[in-house]
Amino acid sequence: MLERFNIVNGLNEDSRMILTTLDEAVNLARANSVWYLLMGLACCSIELMQTGGPRADIDRFGSLFRATPRQSDLMIVAGTVTLKMAPRLRRLYDQMAEPKYVIAMGSCANCGGLFNLSYCVVKGVDKIIPVDVYLPGCPPRPEALTEALIKIQEKIKKEKYFLKKD
């Protein structure tokens, strides 16, 4: 493994040492193992399933679904959030361990979308939980969701995780 790494980077065979910061090494591991919560609220979840399927194959970015919030790093809010679902969504978010990230997938999760004038729909999931990436589309294509995941990875790679105050 190390030898191949050296060949790719054109390093000397004798130099068996890579200098980096702890933050970058840890962030590299974290960014390539973003596990998302298996949760779908409406039709966007069909696209979410497609993204996890073999054609779009989000697995190659190290991302796969977990069926429990306690093992998830990323919550993909795929679909319309109704007022009845809102407290349950908040509870799932609270059960996830830090650090945690949220993608608001589709128009409904962003701002209410098509159901903007409805009496029972939350006008944007950011009224309940903090959102990292807003993904437009109705529904977004699997490529777009992959792009949103890459944005999350970029965000993770920039974090100074060990210098965090709290």
Binding site: L83, K84, A86, G112, Y119, C120, V122, K123, K127
Partner: protein, 164 residues
């Protein structure tokens, strides 16, 4: 069975409870009955050997402004007959007998009708809101419903750019 024959049969069997009965365009018959006679009529619809309406396809409520109505769509697989039963009730006190003990599947339909229109079903085992949160106020599909602007601290009204 032809629709004219079915109408004659229904009139002969339960003519005293029927307010109005006529043919509908979609191979259907609409039958309006007195609200108090709903349960005995539904029982005989299901049990009667000549009718055999064993399936309740759908149940819904309507707000006509001055009155409420509840509509039941019945179907007979054995005889391939369709029938729509309709009862009206007051605006002030919308209440009708539950048919849950006759057709079990109507349980959630009646809960939905209660949730969205506020029609109460006497004798229903678990008449609670089905779709909306339990602490919701009002019944949204009524004509005189006013949309709430705030629910549990969440702002429901979306402001336009001009208002902001």
């Amino acid at each position: 069975m032809k629709r004219e024959d079915l109408i004659k049969l229904l009139l002969s069997k339960m003519g005293r409870s029927i307010v109005r009965i006529e043919e509908m365009p979609n191979n259907d018959i609409i039958m309006e009955i007195y609200t108090d006679d709903l349960v005995p009529i539904m029982v005989s619809m299901k049990k009667d050997e000549d009718l055999r309406f064993t399936t309740l396809m759908n149940q819904l409520g309507v707000d006509y402004g001055e009155s409420f109505a509840v509509i039941y769509n019945l179907y007979s697989f054995d005889l391939d007959n369709k029938l729509t039963v309709k009862v009206y009730m007051d605006k002030d006190n919308p209440e009708v007998d539950s048919v849950e003990h006759i057709f079990r599947g109507v349980n959630w339909f009646e809960r939905e009708t209660y949730d969205l229109l506020g029609i109460r079903f006497k004798g229903h085992g678990n008449l609670e809101r089905l779709l909306l949160p339990p602490d919701w106020e009002g019944h949204p599909l009524r004509k005189d419903y006013v949309y709430p602007e705030v629910y549990n601290g969440l702002e429901l009204k979306r402001k336009t750019l001009l208002e902001e």
